[in-house]
Amino acid sequence: MLLEWRNKYALNGVLLYVVSTVFVCYLSFVTVEKLTWNALFWIIMLFASINAVAKSFLQESKGRHLYIYTLVSPISLIIAKTVYNSLLMIVLTIIALLFYSMVFEFPEGTDVLMYLVAAIVGSLSFATIFTMVSAIASKAGNGGMLMAILSFPIIIPVLIVLVKLAKNAIDGLDRSVSLDDVGLLLLINAMVMGVSLILFPYLWRD
């Protein structure tokens, strides 16, 4: 099932999206402060990830769903999708962070490694949550609009913790301060993953 790699053009498209967004931000902001730096990065990541992950279910046709249905069990499907989306998001985040830090330099005193950890943990949570929500939205058959409505209230708590964690990293606080937040995020991740594993089989069979 990991042969989703076929949809490479999706990755390229999202990459281009991120790069051009960063560029537009650069043109309009030119220089940014610490706080804006952080906020801007997460806003870009949020919309990029919605675009990237929403494709996983929304873009597939009914016929293809049926075809996959005959091939694999729902549990392995959701695991495959989530793993694929997580990898995609991690790659995307690292590239985006690289490009972002090239355009806007890291604020002084940033704990770069910790920021990277925050970005990766964040991309994982984006991937798990959006995978499940896009599955729900695709079954409801109302595309992107519903996706946004359903996912924002769920993603906001995660985003709040993420921004706080990233802020700690920017301020160069001691790493032990941030460990709690990383733990909480991983816990939320595990919880979301568990719930989607239980629920997805119900969603999948029509």
């Binding site: 409801a140 519903l146 409505i149 924002f152 209230p153 769920i154 708590p157 706080k164 629920l199």
Partner: protein
């Protein structure tokens, strides 16, 4: 009488706590002063909301396995009733905040998280409206409901603990700990919680029964 005793109990408790909550003596704490009476009205709203949302999740789980329409109606009506209490909780909180914090809405973490969790359930209702087919609607919305519930728990019980808030009970502000010692308040607060939960459950059963009747008359 056997069937209605809890409704009478709920009504009596709510009336009693409203009168007693406004008239009985309260301890005078810093900052809070007389606004501490809001405890009898604000906090029970959240208790009632959480009880109703829990009912809703339980029926969502049941409806996923039983596939009966009636369980789905129970789930959605519990959400409808719960949202009423959530909004009332926000309003009572905001009015209280106007007099203690000086603003109706000061973007305190607790206010934000409560508002987001209400949004979560509005999203649930929007999702229901977006799907026409009844069985599909029941299934998908039940799944979203179960998916959203743990998030609401995180929002209301975990995240506020991690951030500094002006809300009573947080970070040394007078709140739960100090009133716990006062037996006068306890005598009003616990009945208030029970009373509002019962009233909430009552609203939910009425909404549920009218909905069932409506469905029958439409057939």
């Amino acid at each position: 009488m056997r069937k209605t005793w809890w409704k009478i109990l709920g009504a009596v408790l709510v009336i009693y706590t409203t009168i007693a909550g406004l008239l009985l003596g309260v301890p005078h704490l810093n900052i809070l002063n007389e606004t501490i009476r809001n405890l009898y009205f604000h906090v029970p709203m959240w208790f009632a909301m959480i009880v109703l949302f829990t009912i809703s999740v339980v029926y969502s789980v049941i409806s996923l396995s039983s596939k009966k329409e009636i369980d789905d109606i129970r789930a959605v009506e519990a959400v409808n009733a719960g949202i009423i209490f959530g909004i009332l909780g926000l309003i009572t909180g905001a009015v209280w905040a106007k007099f203690t914090w000086g603003q109706f809405w000061s973007f305190d973490p607790k206010q934000n998280f409560a508002a987001i969790s209400i949004l979560l359930y509005f999203a649930y209702l929007v999702l229901r409206n977006a799907i026409d087919e009844e069985q599909k609607r029941a299934k998908i919305s039940a799944i979203y409901n179960i998916f959203a519930f743990p998030m609401m728990v995180v929002l209301l019980f975990v995240l506020p603990r991690l951030q500094s808030s002006l809300h009573p009970g947080n970070g040394g502000n007078p709140g739960f700990n100090s009133y716990d010692l006062d037996s006068r308040m306890r005598m009003v607060f616990y009945p208030a919680c029970l009373g509002w939960i019962l009233i909430g459950y009552w609203i939910y059963t009425i909404r549920f029964r009218t909905r069932v009747l409506e469905n029958k008359s439409n057939l």
